[in-house]
Symmetry: C2
Subunit: 210 residues, 2 copies
Amino acid sequence: MSVLTGGKLKLIQAALRLITQSRSLTSLGLRELAREAGLNPNTFYRHFQNLDEFGLQVLSYIAEDMKSGVRELRRTAETSEQAAHDTVTFVYHYFLANPAATTVAVRELHGPSPLLRRALENQLDASAREMGEDIIDRQLVSGVEPRTIHEISTMTIRYILFRAMDYIDQPAQRERIQLETERFINRQFRGAMVEHLTRAELDTLADNKQ
Amino acid sequence: MSVLTGGKLKLIQAALRLITQSRSLTSLGLRELAREAGLNPNTFYRHFQNLDEFGLQVLSYIAEDMKSGVRELRRTAETSEQAAHDTVTFVYHYFLANPAATTVAVRELHGPSPLLRRALENQLDASAREMGEDIIDRQLVSGVEPRTIHEISTMTIRYILFRAMDYIDQPAQRERIQLETERFINRQFRGAMVEHLTRAELDTLADNKQ
DNA sequence: CCTCTAGGTATACATGTGTCTACCCGTTGA
DNA sequence: TCAACGGGTAGACACATGTATACCTAGAGG
């Protein structure tokens, strides 16, 4: 584990290229991969046992990448609103720079291979947990149970992932998508902050605005 | 348009069966379909020009189904919380009864075929608009702009769709998923209702609970 | 009664696929 | 110097795929 030697890396990168051009990881053929990588089909077997193992390796290659990306995200932000803005900006830029990884993640999270699905879920849940801990440590929201914060984090991570697809392939809509995402996050947390109020109390609050 | 004759229907249903057993619509082969349907491969060409057209027809077959399902949903519920509960219960039961349709929708919404993607988006947006109108007409939330209600509806429809996958294939988690979904919806709307408050006002509200 | 047609079938072809076995070549270590 | 070995190649295998052409049959319409 695990310096990637030439051929192996070439195959993985070929997969990422093919996926960006509208394929799904599970549907790639090994000859297709070799062709794209400029290698002999049989070279595949020098590095991977079969396509399942290949899929897993591509995934962990991506995961490595994503993790290091998201780690950088320890920013200084005072309010949760500011943090939401910073996070969303950062994450979408990251996704934009790594379209293949994003596409793989979105497609395989609900894709046909249970193996890849579980792997991705674990990966996402880990990120969500980190995000939750971060919010708690930095006390970005008040009066909300940790349990709820983690729940919201999980939802948010998934939401962002899916929107990232739109963000990538609809350049004209990027600003709108970013703003929607921020509103989404803020509403979740604001909603959680007033979860203990009755509907009547809420209604008066809502009606009293000008 | 469009009484489905024997063979055509058999092919579409074969597709739905195959998809439930962990395939994706785009990845189906016509021989595979014919085999599953108990027909000669060439019969496919009597009914469809190619696999793309087939995909679209499967989609509209499903759409028909879903639409009629969701239409039944005009229930009587007094509070938005109650409506959320009723809706979520109904929708998840519907998805549970139609796993193939659900799987197709989830897989192809971010799948490799732009054609199917657009078709599905339109379908979902239509449902979201209906949901939004319904909420507005029945005045289930107060003090929230129609624009915001529609935005939340769109997010909710997509959220539910993805969770439906988990709901279907994790029987032990169904109650939890349903509750999470309800909390998700309520937080969105509650969050929207207090969107006009400042953070300081919110913090006092949140800290004052016991 | 004949003809047309919709739906289903059979055969065949070129191309693609995963996998196996065998061969090759440069580096490394003894 | 020689053996082992990691990484790459070549050819061949059985089988799957999309598609084209031709044939068959049951029913409908005149």
